[in-house]
Symmetry: C2
Subunit: 337 residues, 2 copies
Amino acid sequence: MANASAKNGNGARNDKARIWGGIDLGGTKIEAVIVDARGDVLGRARHPTPPTGGPGEVVKELYGTLGEAAQSVGIEPGKLAGVGVGVPGSVDANKGTLSHTANVAGGWDAPYPLASDLGDLVGGKVMLGNDVQVAVAAEYKLGAGRGHRSVLGVWWGTGVGGGLVLNGVPWRGQGSAGEIGHMVVKPNGARCGCGRRGCLEAYAGRACMERKARSAAKKGEKTLLFDIMRDKKRTRLSSSVWASALKQKDPLATRLIERAIEMMGVAIASVINLLDLEAVVIGGGLGSRLGPLYMGHLQDAMHPHLFITERKPAMRIAELGDLSGAIGAALLAGPQM
Amino acid sequence: MANASAKNGNGARNDKARIWGGIDLGGTKIEAVIVDARGDVLGRARHPTPPTGGPGEVVKELYGTLGEAAQSVGIEPGKLAGVGVGVPGSVDANKGTLSHTANVAGGWDAPYPLASDLGDLVGGKVMLGNDVQVAVAAEYKLGAGRGHRSVLGVWWGTGVGGGLVLNGVPWRGQGSAGEIGHMVVKPNGARCGCGRRGCLEAYAGRACMERKARSAAKKGEKTLLFDIMRDKKRTRLSSSVWASALKQKDPLATRLIERAIEMMGVAIASVINLLDLEAVVIGGGLGSRLGPLYMGHLQDAMHPHLFITERKPAMRIAELGDLSGAIGAALLAGPQM
C-alpha cells in the first residue's frame, strides 16, 4: 500500500485536486467518502448494494455513490487525485480483480476486473483492497491504532475478519492474510460457515451464533432473542438485537456471547504469542457495539494464554465507526500521512 | 537484522577479514562456525555448555569455542568482520542482553549484557539473536526456504519453537515473536511445560511427550521406549529413541507422535490462515529426524484446516542441520547476500 500511495500521490496530475475518494463495498450498502490529505472526511454518501445483477451493476452503483459523495463537496469524480475501494472477498491488488464474493449482487467466483472497470468510469486509476484490511489500516493511521507500530485488527460481525499492520506496513501475505476467524480454536469443534470445524468464526461469528440460537430455541430453550428481533422488525439477529438481549440478561444470549468471547481470547492470545504485537483493535458491528462492555471480559479470556505475561498488548476499540472501511479505501489511493 | 548487517558489513575496518563468526548457544553444547560472504562454512568448533557458573562462565566458553573455530582457519577472532550469537531465551537485540534462560549454566532471569561482554573479549561488535529465529533466517537465505519470500519455521525438539521471515525480513515483534509452540490448539487441554494448558508444545514438545510416556508406562501401558532409551545409554527419550520406537511400531510412541503431528497440523494451518505464507520449514531435532517420514502425515493433518484450499504452502525440511543456528548467528553479523 505504501508503494501504491506514493505512486498515486506523486503522480497526480496538476488538474487533480488534493482530495481522494474511498468506497466501502458491503453486502447491503455502499459507503463512499471524500477525504483530504490528513484523512479528514469532507463528504460522504451511502447507497444500497444492488441485490442482483453481478459485477456490472456493482460497478455502476459504486460510481453512483462516489459521484454523490464528490458532488456533496462540489467536485467531479474525475478531479479526485485517486480512488480506492475496499471489497469483501479475495482481492488481487496488483491486477485489481475481485473474486469469491458471495454476498454482493448475487455473488461471483471468477476474478472480475473491478478496478479497471470503475477506473474507466472515474477517468483515473482505482486501487482495490480487502475491506477488513483497509479498515484496520485506517484505524492504524487515524484511529484506535495510532501510536502503535504493530497492530492486529479483529473485525467482529457476521463473520470474524482480521487485518495486520506490522511495523507500519499492512501485511497481506499472498493477498489473503488476516483470516483470524478461520484459525482453529478447537479441533473437531463447532461447524463453521466455511464448512470446516472448530474455527473461531464458528463460535464468534454472528451468523454462526444465530444458527446456534435458532437451534437452541427450536429445542425449547427459552430466549428473548427472537422476540426482540421481531420487535425491532428485523429478520436476523443483528448486533442491536444481541445487545438488547444481553441488557435484559437473556441466558441464551449471555451464554453464546461469553462462549464467543472465550474463543476470541484464545485466538487473539495465540496471535500475540506468534507475532508479539503491540496492540489489538476490536471493530466490526458486534465489536463496536459490545466492545466497551466486554473488553474486560475479553482481556480476562486472553491473559491466561499469553506466553510473555509481563507484556500484554494494548486493547482498543475501533474509533472510526462505519466509515473505517471507506476511509481506509481512500488511504489506498494516496493521502500521504 | 537487515540494518544491523548493513551497518556491520559496511563499517568493517580495513584490517578486518571478509569472514564472520557465528555461535549457537545451546543447553548442552556451544557450536561455532566461521563463514565467508556467501555463508559457506570455512571452519567450526564445538564445546560443551558449562553446566553451572552463570553468564560469566558462558561468555568465556563462547569465546573459547569461537577462538577454536577461528584458529581452524588460521585467523584471530579479532580479525573477524563481525560476530553473531544465537541464544535460547528472551533477547533484547538492541541492548544485546539475554534474560529468562533456564537451560544454560544454571540459568538466569535478569537481562545480562552478553553481547558487550563477549564483544570486549573478541575486540569487536557482537550481535545477539534468538536461536530459533536465526536458524530460520539461515534456512530462508541458504537452506530449505530459498526462493520463498515468506516462511514459517517450526523447530520441533524438546520444545516447539518458531521463526518468521516476512517478505525477506525476519519478524521479531517486540523481540519475542515466533512462539508457535505456545499457540493454543485445545482450550483447557494438556498441561504444558510453561504452566498453561492446551499449547501446541504440550502435545508436540519432546519433553511433554516424554512426561506423557512415563505416566502411561507407570500406569502399565506396554512400550519399548524406555528399553530403547537404556540400550542407547540415554537418560531421556531423545529423537533417536523416538525414531527407533516408531520403526518398531511401538503403539505408545506411534500414538503420541501422531497426536503431536495432528496438533502441529492444526497450529500450522492456523498460522497460514492468519499470515498467508508461501512456505513452511520444519527443523529441530525431532523435525529433522522424523520430518522425511512424517511430512505427508503432517500435510494430511494441516490441509483440512486451510481456509484458502487452492493455495497450500510449500512444506520443506530444514537443510542446514545442526549448524543452522550457528550459521544464522553469523548472518546476524554481516555477510551480504
